[in-house]
Amino acid sequence: MGGGITLDHFLVLSLIIFGLGLFTVLTRRNAIGILMGIELILNSANINYLAFAFYGGGKYDGQIFAIFVIMLAAAEAVIGLAVVLAIYQNFKTIDVDATETLSG
């Protein structure tokens, strides 16, 4: 299968992307940046599903899961951007530290 690329390569790739996504979420202060980090996390899971489905053989569960994740990521982005837009209208910034009024 494909020039010596094995399941492990995909798993390592997805692990790296998962780590990058988590790192983005934890370090970014810009709301849009954080949403992009969440997308990375979702897509790292997608890579896993596709790789497992491809190398595991058999049914299409993995591919179907990935399609649903892509769809839900879009739905989440819609709501996320709507909230960010409303935040911008009220706070004039989308920096998550600057919008901090609830704490304690």
Binding site: I38, I41, L42, A86
Partner: protein, 495 residues
């Protein structure tokens, strides 16, 4: 029984009623100019759904929609709880001043859709379905939290909820992908069979996958360390939504957590105890999480000055108590947990309802607004809040005491003595912050700037029902524990 799409509908009436309600509300919202009856329609829908659940056959068991959902008595219990949350949420929304300015049609449609999604969460028998349902609940909750579009706190809460929720559910599906890779299936029964089959089990991989999955489910029940969103979201959201999330969303989370960690990856042995997978030590991890959750929730609640925030931390601590029934790995414990969730429903909804009554009249949520509440027209809410807080503490003659009694009995029978001691110490600590509002209401003199609490028949009605139920069921709890007992039946079917 493995039912197809059409045959499944006969076990799907409560959900169908909910969905019909959503569609009718959306259409009427477009057609009508006078929108004040949409709330009543939503209330009728939620109540109709609750009644449909009551009429369902108690001992049935079947796979629905080609093994996507499972219909069993465990699902009936949680669907009853969730429909009850929807009824309480809609009832409070109708009586809330905050929600009156919102777009009524969208608000009630999304609220009912959220309840529908929670039904699915309680019934899912497949990792894909579990993820879809959990995300459906999350998406609707984000919208409802940020519904006060010109209120900064509401929007900030929605943003935080969205960020924490996105990360938690993303982490969860990453963990699910490992389970999928290890077992080759998304179906709970097949996963169980693959994991418990003799042979080499990748213990470390399974453990990490379970921890990742626990992130998503733990975030729904607001257990430490995935609790950070809860205080902010509970404070920022409109009070009826706070209540709906605090009871409904938490119950749905517990339903999914129980269904995944018991029938899907553990095996039931004779004598009603569950055995975890050999070598995969998630019970120990959950025990740790449970202890931290109740301790941190109670300690953080000690210094709160906002009632909503205080109740938010208290609800984290309450989730920790309910988890005690989870970690003892026995049917005894699960039954105690089911009973405690019902008790928690009544007392937490009641406490938030009183907060809403005070906020309706005064517009304030801080504890200072309760100064001398009993002596400025609010004697009835003050007495009711006292009952709710006593029940949350676990004082005898309330249902909260009975719930804690069952939990501690299960813990001691399972010989988790350290857990029992920590739980009892926590109850003592919680007494301090639960008594503080009571002292403020009865023993502090009003200083004149707090405003008068108006009499609102609609809200007082629900408050009376909840307070009476807490006392009545605290004296005669047999029907509820019998219902919980009947619900201990997971359908795993012939695989």
């Amino acid at each position: 029984m493995d039912l197809g799409n059409i045959a499944s509908l006969t076990h799907f009436y409560p959900e169908l009623i909910m969905v019909t309600g959503v569609l009718v509300i959306v259409i009427l919202d477009l057609a009508l100019t006078d929108k004040q009856y949409l709330g009543d329609l939503a209330l009728i829908t939620a109540a109709g759904s609750l009644m449909a659940i009551g009429l369902e056959a108690p001992h049935a068991g079947a796979w629905l929609f080609h093994r996507m959902l499972v219909f069993d008595s465990f699902a009936i219990y949680f669907r009853a709880l969730i429909a009850l949350a929807a009824v309480i949420g809609v009832w409070m929304s109708i009586g809330s001043e905050e929600v009156k300015t919102c777009d009524q049609g969208e608000y009630y449609a999304i609220l009912l859709a959220s309840a529908f999604a929670m039904f699915l969460m309680a019934e899912s028998a497949n990792l894909l379905m579990a993820y879809l349902a959990l995300e459906f609940v999350s998406l609707t909750s984000y919208i409802l939290t940020g519904f006060l579009r010109h209120n900064r706190r509401s929007l900030e809460a929605a943003l935080k909820y969205l960020i924490y929720g996105g990360v938690a559910s993303g982490t969860m599906i990453y963990g699910m992908s490992w389970i999928f890779g290890i077992t080759g299936s998304l179906d709970f029964t097949v996963i169980n069979r693959a994991l418990s089959a003799p042979g080499h089990l990748p213990v470390l991989a399974v453990f990490i996958a379970l921890v990742l999955i626990l992130t998503g489910m733990g975030y729904k029940v607001a257990s430490v360390p995935f609790h950070m969103w809860a205080p902010d979201v509970y404070t920022g959201a409109p009070i009826p939504i706070t209540t709906f999330l605090a009871i409904g969303s938490k119950a749905a989370g517990f339903a999914l957590l129980t269904r995944f960690f018991f029938p899907a990856i553990s095996t039931l042995t004779a004598g009603g105890s569950w055995t975890a997978l050999a070598g995969v030590d998630w019970p120990q991890l959950l025990l740790f999480i449970c202890i931290i959750t109740m301790t941190l929730g109670n300690l953080a609640a000690l210094q709160q000055t906002n009632m909503k925030r205080l109740l938010a931390y208290s609800s984290i601590a309450q989730a920790g108590y309910a988890l005690m029934g989870f970690v003892v790995l026995s049917n005894d414990g699960i039954r105690a947990m089911l009973f405690y969730l019902f008790a928690y429903y009544l007392m937490d909804a009641g406490a938030f309802l009183v907060v809403m009554i005070v906020a309706n009249s005064t517009g304030r949520e801080d504890i200072d607004a309760y100064r001398g509440l009993a002596w400025r027209g609010g004697i009835v809410p003050a007495i009711a809040l006292t009952i709710f807080l006593f029940s949350l503490t676990g004082i005898p003659l309330t249902i909260g005491f009975i719930g804690k009694f069952y939990l501690f009995a299960a813990v001691i029978r399972g010989q988790f003595y350290v857990l029992a001691i920590v739980g009892i110490l926590n109850s003592v600590v919680s007494l301090y912050y639960y008594l503080r509002p009571i002292r403020t209401m009865f023993f502090d003199q009003p200083q004149g700037d707090e405003g008068v609490v108006k009499f609102e028949p609609w809200n007082y009605g629900l408050m009376g029902v909840l307070a009476c139920a807490i006392i009545a069921l605290g004296l005669y709890w047999q029907p509820i524990i019998a219902f919980a007992d009947r619900s201990l039946n997971f359908f795993v079917g012939p695989a």
